[in-house]
């Protein structure tokens, strides 16, 4: 009988989580390279349906019906392509198709990002917007017209000579990019679910392209997030109604005996 409250609260918790995920997606509507997530529910394990106060079922007559135990959630990251936005900045680059840029964290570990907002630090190293080095690319201080080419090279002029290549952007791909773990600052680290990073060679791979002077926008779509928000809100309220109904039934019981 008290099970009903647990079932209803499992629904409330699931919709709360769905709202949290929607909230995080909307907050990152403008984050370059952001990949939205989605909370999906699934039903919890069922118990055999039996009747209170009756004999247990004999073994040969297992009940066919089942009593539900509410709902649980999984959160999936959806790695579909975001819109490519032209910025004209020479050190911005977007990936069209699969793939990630490899970034070195402060502790030497590798992390991966789709955010191609690069710049140069005080030592001329190519770094992400949060200052983490991308590959080991150093641009000499006298270089001019530094840009990223469609082949992933960082190039520029020194004096009057022709363009020289200072380095190659490290690009990787994953079997299952949805399985990557987000660690904040637009960075992901691999897990068992994503598989290990495999080098991505733009020449030999088919569909992937680099688009210099552009950034990949967030793949969050506001209209869809609002739809999900409204649905989650209504489902949340419906589960609250169950709690309320249960409460009224129990108060009826408690007033039976005066």
């Amino acid at each position: 009988m008290f099970n009903i409250l647990r079932i209803a609260s499992s629904g409330i918790i699931a919709q709360q989580l769905a709202l949290d995920v929607v909230g995080n997606n909307i907050a990152n509507l403008q984050t370059p390279g952001f990949k939205r997530s989605r909370a999906d529910t699934y039903d919890a394990r069922y118990a055999p349906w039996n009747y209170a106060g009756t004999e247990p079922y004999p073994a040969e007559a297992q009940p066919h019906g089942t009593a539900g135990n509410g709902t649980l959630s999984t959160v999936m990251r959806l790695t579909s392509q975001g819109p490519v936005l032209q910025t004209g900045r020479s050190l911005d680059v977007a990936i069209q198709g699969d793939g990630f840029f490899e970034v070195t964290l402060a502790d030497g570990r590798r992390a991966y990002t789709r955010d191609g907002t690069f710049g140069l630090d005080a030592n001329g190293r190519l770094v992400t917007a949060s200052g983490l080095p991308v590959g080991d690319i150093v641009v000499p201080p006298d270089a001019t017209g530094v840009r990223i080419g469609a082949d992933g090279t960082v190039r520029g002029r020194r004096g009057d000579v022709a363009e020289t290549v200072f380095g190659q952007l490290p690009l990787v791909r994953f079997v299952n990019p949805r399985g990557l773990l987000a660690i904040g600052e637009n960075l992901f680290v691999p897990t068992d679910n994503s598989g290990a990073a495999q080098p991505l060679d733009l020449v030999t791979t088919g569909g992937e392209r680099l688009l210099p002077g552009s950034l990949e926008g967030s793949n969050v779509e506001l209209s869809e997030e609002f739809t999900r928000m409204i649905q989650a809100q209504r489902a949340y309220q419906a589960n609250l109604k169950v709690v309320q109904t249960w409460d009224e039934l129990i108060s009826t019981v408690n007033s039976l005996r005066r």
Partner: protein, 262 residues
């Protein structure tokens, strides 16, 4: 008289159980591929009230009735909830645009390999693992006609008959099944199993796959809300009937036959 108390209580028990089932339906109102449970409610067998004998279950009365039993008429003895039945009606598909989201149109199911054996599901929110094998949202293997499906990390497209193309090449076909008589029970994680383990499904003939869509739960929020209101009132009515009989019983015991009166 006491029988009436228990009849009323059986009504209260039935509606509380209906609330538990509706609670589970509402908790899963947004679960992809979820099928709602319905509770059939039935009255207990009518009893024939004999004038002299104790009650006889109506079904057991030989016809014609024994001569010594003068029958007055049937009497109810309450209500009970049957085991929930699955409403397998189609939920409405909604677009997600994700290549690994699949909705089924028609009566069939996806086949899934779980630690407990083969299970069937309508929830097509699939994923791949680190080896590129197709899995359900809860991590079990989605079965193709030749077992687990290796899709790798390529560009995935799935035809309406379940054929999976990776970068344009057909690599596998989803194992879609249908049941002749869908006597299924829910086991959780959006999975269904045949009630009789000996029942085997046959390959689907009338089921289509829709890529980039998910099948919504078939829980109807407005109807469920109406049922919540109805069951609450029915519960209160049963409680009131119980109270009235309690009062009548109290009067019979304490007041009837009192000499003198107050």
């Amino acid at each position: 008289m006491l029988r009436g108390l228990y009849s009323a209580a059986s009504g209260m028990d039935t509606h509380m159980r209906r609330l538990a089932v509706e609670a589970n339906n509402l908790a899963n109102a947004r679960t992809p591929g979820y099928k709602q449970d319905r509770v059939p409610v039935e009255s207990f067998a009518l009893l024939l009230r004999g004038r002299t004998d104790p009650v006889i279950p109506m079904l057991d009365v030989p016809f014609p009735a024994p001569a010594q039993t003068e029958l007055i008429g049937p009497i109810g003895s309450g209500v009970f909830p049957w085991e929930p039945v699955l409403d397998l009606s189609q939920g409405s598909p909604y677009q997600t645009g994700e290549p690994l989201d699949l909705a089924l149109i028609g009566p069939g199911f996806f086949a899934v390999q779980t630690p407990d054996g083969e299970r069937y599901t309508r929830a097509g929110n699939f994923s791949v693992d680190g080896n590129g094998t197709l899995r359900t949202a809860t991590g079990d293997l989605v079965l193709g006609e030749q077992g687990p499906i290796q899709v790798g990390g390529g560009d995935l497209s799935i035809a309406s008959d379940g054929t999976i193309f990776v970068n344009g090449n057909a690599v596998a076909r989803l194992r879609l099944v249908e049941f002749d008589a869908p006597a299924l029970r829910k086991v959780g994680e959006n999975y269904l199993a045949p009630q009789d383990p000996a029942v085997l499904p046959r390959p689907a003939t009338a089921t289509q796959v829709l890529q980039g869509y998910l099948e919504g739960s078939n829980v109807d929020l407005s109807r469920t809300m109406v049922r919540l209101i109805e069951l609450q009132r029915a519960y209160e009515l049963s409680a009131r009937a119980l109270q009235l009989q309690d009062q009548t019983l109290g009067q019979a015991i304490n007041d009837v036959g009192r000499v003198g009166g107050s």
